[in-house]
Amino acid sequence: MKMIQAIIRPEKLDDVKHALEEKGYIALTVIDVKGRGEQKGITLQYRGKKVEVDLLPKVKIEVVMKDDEVESAIATIRASARTGKIGDGKIFVLPVEMMARVRTDEVWT
């Protein structure tokens, strides 16, 4: 089993969610995060006073899947989250040792 952690633009969340759902990945966890990559941040202004914002709001999606599904899931996320501009995000793939359901005693390894 693998866990995909995808950090994407918040405004793309609906598109990614929808695309993953069409591929059959219904279960996922979404976390509001802040971060920065090679993107330097943006400048906002409040009453004319400039404020540098170098940690930008992003969304992290976590999905757990079988090893052989990872490639197609990454392709799906890329296709639905990409704008082609800096700040589109990153995808990390982590090994998962075990998954256990809380409601029952089921366990997957």
């Binding site: 633009r9 918040p10 405004e11 793309k12 609906d14 598109d15 929808h18 943006i42 400048t43 906002l44 202004q45 409040y46 914002v53 704008t83």
Partner: protein, 401 residues
């Protein structure tokens, strides 16, 4: 006539009450859009207020209430408020300046109501241009026709506080603009969750509160008629709130946004009728408005029309119902006019004419204006700006750091 200090005091206070309705609309709408557009939505109302305030002083008031030209429009005789003084004019008992200012806050809130259709996608520069054109070419002529000595009032149509001029015009203009500006990206596909419902409820509270100035102030005097308008306004709002709540309960749960939307529907419907109907008639007018506007909202959603915050279904259709309701329920015990229930068919016919004319005029002119602005400077922000949200893309601000 002689200046009456009681009347003047009440109209000055009522003006301030109505002023609060414009930011009230902003908070009401602002709470219902997504988090990334809350500032933009509230700002549109403030911008509408500032923009129309200046336009009204420079020439808007004169176009609406200046010397009549063939019943169609006011002349520029009062432009820049030259000749609008501290003394009452004509049969009025309040300073001409107080009357001007009272009318100003009506013009501003009308443009604010219209911002419903621009939600989450309008370019701020386009809104400024469109807003100026719209208030000049749609609001000012309609205000003249109904209140400024124009031809519509000559037909005998009754509109106590602005059912046609304010609500029908804003509502049906919003419908026309919706056809031009198009849906928000993701409308009908993604869920669009309201950012802050308590704020929308507070906005609705400001509207309900301000509406006492809107309707009771329209008596233009501190008298019994103002008291009648005050009572029926509250009664219709309450009936509308309960009716919409009941109708939406039937389909699911009695959502708080439904309760206040029903109140607004009741307030809209009683607006043209406030000086002509009894409190018992107000219960019927408000309750019908609550259910009717709720059904119109469902119809809009079913048609896939993104008139985003329901200016059309609540203000437009509520305004139509209210204008017709005057022709049905007007009672001689309140004012010197009667309606269908007293056997006066002519009044009802006059109301239908007023509705058809204001719906048609607002819809057609707004559609053309929207097309022109869209073809020249473009009404919408870019796709990217829309994704990021108007708070950051249009204003360079965000709700929370």
């Amino acid at each position: 006539m002689v200046l009456d200090s009681g009347d003047t005091a009440w109209i000055l206070a009522a003006t301030a009450l109505v002023m609060l309705m414009t930011p009230g609309v902003g908070f009401f709408y602002g709470g219902m859009v997504r988090r990334k557009n809350v500032i933009s939505m509230i700002a549109l109302s403030f911008i509408a207020f500032a923009l129309v305030s200046i336009q009204w002083v420079l020439f808007g008031y004169s176009l609406s209430f200046g010397p009549d030209i063939s019943g169609l429009i006011g002349g520029l005789g009062l432009a820049g408020l030259i000749g609008v003084g501290q003394d009452p004019s004509g049969t009025s008992t309040i300073p001409a300046l107080a009357f001007m200012m009272y009318q100003l806050v009506f013009a501003t809130v009308t443009l604010a109501i219209l911002t419903s259709v621009f939600a989450e996608r309008v370019k701020i520069s386009a809104f400024l241009v469109f807003g100026l054109l719209w208030t000049t070419l749609v609001y000012d002529p309609l205000a003249h026709w109904v209140w400024g000595g124009g031809w519509l009032a000559g037909l005998g149509a009754l509109d106590f506080a602005g059912g046609t001029v304010v609500h029908i015009s804003a509502g049906f203009s919003a419908l026309a603009i919706a056809l031009v500006i198009g849906k928000r990206r993701g409308f009908g596909v993604h869920t669009m969750e309201p950012a802050n419902i308590p704020m929308a409820l507070l906005g609705a509270a400001l509207l309900w509160f301000g509406w006492f100035g809107f309707n009771a102030g329209s008596a233009l005097a501190a008298n019994g008629l103002a008291a009648n308008a005050f009572v029926v306004t509250n009664t219709a709002a309450a009936a509308g709130a309960l009716a919409w709540m009941a109708a939406s309960w039937y389909h699911g749960r009695p959502a708080s946004l439904g309760v206040v939307s029903g109140a607004v529907a009741g307030l809209v419907a009683i607006t043209p009728a406030a000086g002509y109907v009894t409190p018992l008639a107000a219960i019927i007018i408000g309750a019908v408005a609550g259910i009717f506007c709720y059904m119109m909202m469902l119809l809009r959603i079913q048609k896939g029309l993104d008139e985003s915050l329901d200016a059309w279904s609540i203000h437009g259709m509520g305004g139509v119902w209210g204008a017709l309701a005057v022709g049905i329920f007007a009672s001689a015990t309140v004012n010197s006019y009667t309606g269908l229930l007293s056997g006066n068919v002519a009044q009802f016919t006059a109301q239908i004419v007023a509705v058809v004319v204001s719906v048609g005029y607002a819809f057609v002119v707004s559609y053309v204006l929207a097309r022109v602005v869209d073809a020249t400077i473009g009404l919408r922000v870019t796709e990217n700006e829309e994704y990021v949200g108007l708070d950051i893309s249009q204003h360079g601000e965000r709700t929370q750091g």
